[in-house]
Point group: C2
Chain length 298, copies 2
Amino acid sequence: MTPSSDIATRMTETADRVTVALDQLLPRVQGPEQKLMSAMRYAALGGGKRLRPFLVLETGRIFGVDERALLRAAAAIECVHTYSLVHDDLPSMDNDDLRRGRPTVHRAYDEATAILAGDALLTLAFEILADPNTHPDANVRCQLVTRVAQASGARGMVGGQMMDMIGSELGDDIAAVTRLQRLKTGALISVSVEAGVMLGRAGEEAGTVLSSYAHDLGLLFQITDDILDVTGSEDEAGKAVGKDAEAGKATFVSLLGLEGAKERVRYLATQAQNHLAGLGPRATYLSQLVDMIAERRS
Amino acid sequence: MTPSSDIATRMTETADRVTVALDQLLPRVQGPEQKLMSAMRYAALGGGKRLRPFLVLETGRIFGVDERALLRAAAAIECVHTYSLVHDDLPSMDNDDLRRGRPTVHRAYDEATAILAGDALLTLAFEILADPNTHPDANVRCQLVTRVAQASGARGMVGGQMMDMIGSELGDDIAAVTRLQRLKTGALISVSVEAGVMLGRAGEEAGTVLSSYAHDLGLLFQITDDILDVTGSEDEAGKAVGKDAEAGKATFVSLLGLEGAKERVRYLATQAQNHLAGLGPRATYLSQLVDMIAERRS
């Protein structure tokens, strides 16, 4: 088996198990408010790469963390990610009709239901993290709540989306685009790796190299996203493409050029893998993930 | 001083201190995403009765809880309440232009900013609760996160708002309206009292009577809200009135009649105060609060 099919299989397996975990953690569809639960499930169980859960699981496995705990933390972070997609897709934000190859939540249901389903998914994430089943030590659970909240709030993901909304006022240099990415997608990718580190009570040294890895991986992911927005097809991406250029937004491609962006991808991929060197074969899948993202077509 | 001016003064003092606490806990207005912080502050610092914080503080005081801890928990719950108002006011939900006598957040800013400011306020609430400054014992902090999340999520406040949105399909009996109220406003009022109990590590007996008190108080608050929607003026309420009748929504007034609703208020007020009897003078302010709500005009 080639390394690339190896990681692809592993990612699919992980994605399936995270979906099962989410299915169990999401509220049942019942009661007069069942439209809400139905929309939450539509959003969270509708596929996706499950990149963030994969990072939680593979990082935690390095430190021998119990798989059930990892799946809970992974599901919680995926709830945060899913809520952010549901809200970002709304008419008053990015106004997208398609997500993961299906109608967005406000299209499949309605706008009010999409807002409420997003709110409930975000709330559920913290309920999952604070539950004793996620970790026997309440200090670790509080740490998870704190870091996930920081990564997703005004100084993290939501702040990044705000910057994205006011895009044209930000200036169009590489520092501004990098900061936006760092907040909008990087923070949650970083906290996914960090969750595995926290649950595994890994030492400071391992924490630092994995944090550097996550930093580069997040940037790598965003640059390839910008490249796909230019070169990809809507069918492959499962969402609208070409929107950044249309909106006149500064992206890594508009700033570095297509070749420059691809070069930056290669540079970051090498750097991300170098961070992992000290962890040896335990980090094989995290390393293969770098190649997979660098070469991704959707 | 009459009891009524006594409680009014105490509520104003508490509200001021909660506003100061919120001011310190909310992110500064800075960075390219500062519009977000500005909207969060506009929403959270714009007044309001601060009923939920008052409940956290007065309950916690019964058990001698450190005031700084109470203010943090109170501020967190007020963040949840504020976010719910910001989202409920949106055009796709209740479409309100006025809140606490000022333009709603989506009117003062824009819709996208209102959605994001709500998201960030909800996220901040959990960050505050999980912080060691809220309580030295991480188990208590996790319990707070869990219960606030449960009270605010799909099986609590957000579920109640969903029911409110699909109102006409719910049936118009008193059981349906009571269940909606229980979720939409009752759950967060109950968890405010519960937070004081949790922080004070109060015994089971005190917890049970205070939980019954909170249950009746929440219902009382909603019935008086329904009465004010019929009898109040927009000036006094600081928000639009008469909307429920206009929307054909079943309310306690439409189901019980104005006199029937007022009678229910008197009954609930007596019952709520009876729950407190065993706590003696320590619960004076919680008791006076019942009268204040029963007689409120805004």
